[in-house]
């Protein structure tokens, strides 16, 4: 069947699926990968910025430390405000063409996409992480300090795992936004789902049909991600009940009792697991 003879809405969609499904899927894969990498790196940036923004400093600290922290904070605040306060599409063109014209750096498609989505997400996540850290009861910090933990240890073992749990919904939100908003990268020639759809639509002027497919694919991707995140959240909360270690307490130190072994064997794994522990 030739394209010209295909007239109905459904038959055009079927025609597109028949001839262009590989290109649609490639585009969708690209969008998803950009969103995943961008969200992940963005979260790392957000965590880093969030930590620096919440490092406490006191008059007792040495002057260089205080000055350094202050300067860092100003720079980070500017970063957050600029990237949160301008559209990602404009940022993409600004950075891509700016670097090309004046620094003679020609970013590849992937580099540009990952870079722009990451720093954009980072700006949002920084505020989310800061809020997540501030939302944890100060008593948790005091409890950790009281047993001699340093600021870093307190953050890493006690505050982060709880803050992370609190901000997972926001991370999921960002992932979903990034899956959709990666479409703006078509302006710098990123061959993602929207770019591909426009191309395919332009071949036959079947915009409605091609966009229908794009709508469905975007929806499948976002819906799947939101369900997966919900499932992950539930898993992190751990079981609602616990088992009593019902054994002769005198036997503890003699090693005769068997407590439920933590799943992790070494300390690093314990740490990773702790990062996701439930909270109150």
């Amino acid at each position: 069947m030739s394209a010209a003879a295909t007239t109905g809405y459904l038959s055009r969609i079927l025609f597109l699926l028949d001839h262009y499904s590989i290109s649609f899927l490639r585009g969708a894969g690209t969008s998803l990968l950009i969103a995943l990498v961008g969200t992940f790196v963005g979260c790392l940036i957000g965590f880093l910025v969030g930590i620096i923004q919440t490092i406490p400093f006191r008059a007792k600290d040495p002057l260089p430390k205080r000055v350094l922290l202050r300067v860092l904070r100003v720079i980070l605040s500017v970063y957050v405000e600029v990237f949160r306060g301008t559209p990602m599409m404009v940022q993409a063109m600004f950075i891509y063409f700016g670097l090309m014209q004046y620094a003679h750096i020609h970013m590849g498609m992937w580099t540009a996409a990952f870079f722009i989505v990451s720093i954009n997400t980072g700006a949002y996540m920084a505020e989310t992480v800061r809020g997540g850290i501030l939302s944890i009861d100060p008593g948790q910090t005091e409890g950790a300090k009281a047993i001699g933990m340093t600021h870093f240890q307190t953050m890493f073992y006690v505050i982060f795992p709880q803050a992370l749990r609190n901000i997972i919904p926001q991370i999921g939100n960002n992932l979903i936004i990034n899956i959709k908003d990666s479409s703006v990268l078509s302006v710098i020639g990123t061959i993602e789902l929207f770019y591909v759809t426009k191309q395919n639509a332009g071949t036959y002027y079947w915009y409605f049909e091609a966009m229908t497919l794009a709508m469905i694919i975007y929806l499948i991707m976002t819906f799947t991600c939101s369900r997966l995140l919900r499932w992950w959240e539930k898993r992190l909360d751990g079981p609602a009940s616990y088992d009593l270690a019902t054994t002769d307490t005198l036997a503890f130190t003699s090693g005769m009792t068997r407590f439920e072994e933590p799943r992790a064997e070494d300390e690093d794994e314990l740490t990773n697991r702790d990062l996701g522990k439930g909270w109150n």
Binding site: A146, G148, M149, Q153, S241
Partner: protein, 246 residues
Amino acid sequence: MAEAILEVRHLSKAFGSNVVLRDIDFDVRPGDVTSIIGASGSGKSTLLRCINLLETPTAGEILFHGENVAAAHVNEAAYRAKVGMVFQSFNLFNNMTVLENCTVGQMKVLKRSKSEARETALRFLTRVGMAPYVNAKPRQISGGQKQRVAIARALAMNPEILLFDEPTSALDPEMVGEVLEVMRGLASDGMTMLVVTHEMAFARDVSNHVVYMNHGVICEEGSPAQLFGDPQKAETKEFLARFIRG
């Protein structure tokens, strides 16, 4: 007399223009159980928080084995590892089980091996009667149980002195007993303790030294027999009378 573990010298603390501690002086010797009593707002908790450096003193010295820990260059974390603290609001780590609460400090701060940390934790959890709950999360146990775990967590660090900041004030009445029982046991084992409390019976029966604070100063101090039996200052008499009546 044994050398003091902790000497507080001319300690003052102000929050802005609000002076909450004025020229506090006292010593803690090994094996001492010191109770700090006084009305709410008299500065008891702030004093304890200053001793653990959770608040920075405005002036004065806190000498731990003769070294001033309030000085700028002191490693606060290393000092705090030797001074245990039990809070009114427990402050157990919500993201960890009971057992992990008691092992994390040992492993990360004292660098003990996992098996050693577990063994130590279980020993102290057994002692406070919380060993069966090793797998529970803080949100799953009662206030009294949380406080007992918090005591085990502090003990597992083998502190030289244990600070209690109103450990029973956030508890339902029926749970106060179980926590006080644990504290009595510690005292009789010779643990050095500094206890801010509203439990007059505990102060009278368990401690060997009582400090009465009023408006940010130490108004009167002495043995429980002296302070409860024969208070010298009018404020002390009034405070005690109020408590006995109330």
